[in-house]
């Protein structure tokens, strides 16, 4: 048991270390307010080399250089949005981790909800039909016509009764 906990602590240390910041102390701005803004911007920008990380997370050399550039521009007086616009001007929307909402990305933003709605609609239709069928469509409104079983014939009713009685004859 003790060994297990030691292992656990060891693993936590290893994984914890690998999650350490990519931002190096030497990159950081002395002004904590500006540094905080830089970090906010970092987190929104994609590392264009590794592609699935922000430059805040990435150890890639280019990500390092992009972080330095973000700090240079912030120090020079750019707003966060101006820094982001600068990167978008060079790398396109791709450099944003959150894709912007615009006609080209409508499928991306609304596609999943749309598919979900279709699924719900199909489920709704499926269960409605089943309810109608299970109630034998006895309400006479003709709904579920063609789906519901036709009523039992006299011979079938007789057979059913005998089956229910446990009479195998």
């Amino acid at each position: 048991m003790r060994r297990f906990f030691l292992l656990l602590i060891g693993a936590a240390a290893v994984f914890g270390a690998s999650r350490a910041l990519a931002v190096e102390p030497s990159e950081m701005l002395a002004n904590p307010v500006l540094e905080h803004r830089a970090r906010v911007v970092d987190k929104q920008l994609r590392c264009v080399v590794c592609q699935n990380q922000s430059i805040d997370d990435s150890d890639a050399d280019l990500a390092h250089d992009m972080r330095v550039l973000v700090r240079k521009r912030i120090t020079a007086g750019d707003s966060n949005q101006q820094v982001i616009d600068y990167m978008v001007g060079r790398y396109g929307d791709f450099v944003l981790l959150d894709p912007p909402l615009k006609p080209a990305t409508y499928v991306l933003w609304f596609g999943p909800a749309f598919i979900g709605l279709i699924g719900l609609g199909v489920l709704f239709l499926f269960y409605r039909r089943r309810i109608v069928r299970d109630s034998g469509d006895g309400d006479g409104d003709g709904e579920g016509k063609g789906m519901a079983e036709p009523p039992l014939s006299a011979a079938e009713k007789k057979q059913l009764e005998s089956l229910l009685k446990g009479d195998n004859a």
Binding site: L62, M66, L69, G92
Partner: protein, 178 residues
């Protein structure tokens, strides 16, 4: 008619299959460049060490040029280099180099001394300032710039003989006529 309703999911599925099949054939490393038909960003890079001249955006005005981003650390650049030397010897277009992110100041010059220098000018870009301005994601990347200093084409990865013969050289010839 009602029965055909059952074909709708199949139809949607078929559309998705085509959509994803096309998506999977695309190389996610290749990003569309937003810089096409835009002016070269302003920059002024110092020369790398040795008998080289520095490189600024104004050097590109008045002639059609090929701007090549490379680094001695980059294996694909090593593969591309002989072809650049060949382009240089044919005199089709002047090549301007951006030596990107050299770890050591002498690496780039030593590389060119060893393999031959295809560049008219070579700027030193150790901290990616100009590479980022060009929207570079990896080396090598090459840009065809027209006489007005407008980027007209971007080649991601090494210039292949095929890309050169089919796309790049015809475009350069056309731009040179303008």
């Amino acid at each position: 008619m009602r029965r055909l309703v059952f074909l709708v999911p199949l139809g949607i599925f078929a559309v998705l299959v085509v959509y994803f099949a096309v998506g999977l054939t695309k190389d996610p490393k290749i990003l569309p460049s937003v810089l096409i038909n835009r002016e070269v960003p302003p920059f002024d890079l110092p020369a790398i060490q040795g008998p080289f001249k520095g490189f600024a955006n104004r050097d590109l005005i008045g002639q059609v040029t090929l701007v090549n981003v490379f680094g001695s650390w980059c294996i694909a650049c090593r593969a591309e280099h002989p072809f650049l030397v060949q382009i240089k010897s044919q005199g089709a277009v002047p090549i301007y180099g951006i030596d990107w992110r050299e770890v050591n100041r002498v690496d780039g010059p030593a590389w060119l001394a060893r393999l031959g220098n295809p560049y008219t000018r070579v700027g030193d870009d150790p901290d990616s300032a100009v590479a980022i301005a060009f929207g570079v994601t990896g080396a090598p990347e090459s840009f065809i710039v027209d006489k007005k200093g407008v980027i007209r084409y971007k080649q991601i990865g090494p210039i292949t003989p095929e890309a050169w013969d089919r796309t790049m050289l015809p475009l350069i010839r056309e731009l040179q006529k303008q």
